[in-house]
């Protein structure tokens, strides 16, 4: 289960707290850019999952910035080597192929956390036959709660990512990008919040649900020119990352133009 011999550093934080150490840890990335991966996969097949992993891995080849994601992994209660496919597997795979990037998970404590001799932390175990654990292949993660007695929500997860992004943008002049794929109501909240903020947003079209709804909403895309759309294929995705200056070294050498209303 542990691809890396080094287990991730863990932080514990109440919603609303500011952490200097978390922000500082992200600055170890070689490129000053932070990417937040959001969305869902909604019980996709293993074949579909592998296609999604390959899509992200190939598109992000050469990435040296920082990444934020949900920070969890779902494994079988009976066999910890059986992993439920999901979007939170995407970022650790990018990390594996791009070891210079820094990967940070934000894990809301939505239930009581338990300790287990086999799994370490168990974030939730009420989703039979799966249990949720902090993903072992990330640089560090924060377990987020409202207080000792109050759980956090999935909204708190994206809002913490928003807070960290804001700090890095405003204080350190970092670039940022929110990438949305699939997803439901919480993903929608995040897309809308960052669109209104004027920060770069990339919608990966073709994965379904809320992301596809906004990717085909011409009125929305016209209102928020900071929101771009790419197709669910490597060429389109990678071109978008280059055009949005997330991948280093290419933009100046290519004469890229915004065509097709910002769609890649």
């Amino acid at each position: 289960m542990f691809d890396s011999p080094v287990v991730p550093r863990s932080f514990f934080m109440n919603v609303g707290e500011n952490s200097a150490n978390i922000a500082l840890s992200l600055t170890k990335a070689k490129e000053q850019v932070v990417v937040r991966i959001t969305g869902g996969c909604g019980y996709m097949s293993e074949e579909d999952a592998n296609g999604l992993y390959d899509l992200y891995s190939e598109a992000f080849s050469g990435f040296k910035g920082a990444m934020m994601f949900g920070g969890t992994r779902m494994v079988s209660k009976n066999d910890r080597n059986i992993v439920l496919p999901g979007i939170t597997e995407v970022v650790p795979r990018i990390k594996k192929e791009n070891p210079d990037c820094i990967v940070f998970g934000v894990v809301p404590r939505t239930d009581d956390v338990k300790m287990d001799t086999q799994y370490g932390f168990i974030v939730t175990d009420d989703n039979n036959p799966w249990i949720t654990i902090p993903h072992p292949d990330q640089d560090f993660f924060v377990l987020l709660q409202k207080s000792v007695d109050q759980s956090a929500t999935w909204t708190d997860e994206w809002q913490e990512c928003y807070n960290v992004t804001k700090r890095l943008r405003n204080v350190c002049d970092w670039k940022s990008l929110l990438i949305a794929y699939n997803g439901g109501g919480i993903t929608e909240q995040e897309i809308l919040a960052l669109s209104k903020e004027g920060w770069p947003v990339l919608l990966v079209n073709g994965g379904g649900r809320k992301t596809d709804e906004y990717a085909s909403n011409e009125e929305f895309l016209t209102k928020y020119p900071n929101v771009k759309v790419c197709n669910k294929d490597v060429r389109s995705f990678r071109n978008a990352l280059i055009e949005m200056s997330i991948l280093p070294g290419f933009k100046k050498s290519l004469n890229l133009q915004v065509i097709n209303g910002g769609k890649f």
Binding site: A20, N21, A23, L24, S25, T27, K28, R167, N170, C172
Partner: protein, 258 residues
């Protein structure tokens, strides 16, 4: 624009001011400013200028400028600036980071200072830190003012635990491979500072001939006194040999020479 001792002179044209309580969590945004330095190293200049002539002070600034030639990390010190009775600059150790930045513009100059008195606006709204016309140093990129709530004054060492924690966090979390301290002159607070960095095994550099607590510590080393600082991380350099300090900084990863 007429430049005076109060004119802001740094790259951005403004000094970012942060205020933190000495018991509160560390100030994230202030700490992040440091990460804008091209090289992830940090050195604190500790000390004072008591008993130094005007000429001594100018030579001090020249010593550091020569020693830190090519430095692109974080250079920290106290955050104050002293003015003479006629409003002219009275150079102090706290002017070293900004002065070195004049010839090394990529470095990040940061300062910390305790709130030892009630702050006030005076004259043309000058921000004065105490009853001695002490000002925030306008050559810094960012300044952290540390207080014990709004009503209690701190002593002059009130910011020391905070800046040590900040340097520890840079080292532990932000990839600052080397952090250290240079001590020049100074009294009891300075002694506590170089004792603290020496205890952490950080490079602790004592400038011989600078006076007072720093020279006392060097004398203790040279005479093998039982309380003398010792270890490979303790380095003594004469104030007339800035090139020796520069070599030490290069050899220990603080300055990269292409």
């Amino acid at each position: 624009m007429t430049h005076t001792a109060q004119t802001v002179k740094n790259k951005s044209g403004k000094v970012q001011l942060f205020v933190a309580d000495h018991n509160s969590s560390l100030p994230a945004n202030y700490m992040l400013v440091a990460t804008k330095a091209p090289t992830k190293v940090a050195i604190r200049i500790a000390g004072g200028c008591k008993n130094m002539s005007d000429q001594d002070k100018l030579e001090m600034l020249d010593f550091f400028t020569q020693a830190f030639d090519g430095y692109t990390g974080v250079l920290c010190s106290g955050a104050t600036r002293q003015l003479t009775s006629t409003g002219e600059l009275d150079p102090m150790v706290t002017d070293v980071p900004g002065h070195v930045a004049l010839t090394n513009p990529d470095l990040i100059a940061l300062g910390t200072a305790p709130r030892t008195d009630t702050w006030s606006l005076q004259g043309e709204s000058a921000f004065v830190l105490d009853g001695y016309n002490t000002r925030p140093n306008p050559t810094m990129d960012a300044i952290l003012l540390v207080q014990d709530g709004p009503d209690t004054n701190l002593d002059w060492d009130g910011d020391v635990p905070t800046y040590l924690k900040i340097m520890e966090a840079w080292n532990k979390f932000a990839g600052f491979e080397h952090v250290g301290l240079v001590s020049w002159n100074g009294g009891a607070v300075t002694e506590a500072e170089f004792q603290a960095t020496a205890a952490r095994k950080w490079p602790t550099i004592l400038v011989e001939g600078s006076g007072r607590a720093t020279d006392d510590a060097i004398t203790a080393i040279h005479t093998n006194q039982p309380n003398a600082l010792q270890g490979n991380h303790i380095f003594v350099v004469n104030k007339n040999e800035p090139q020796i300090l520069r070599k030490y900084l290069i050899d220990n990863g603080f300055i990269t020479v292409n």
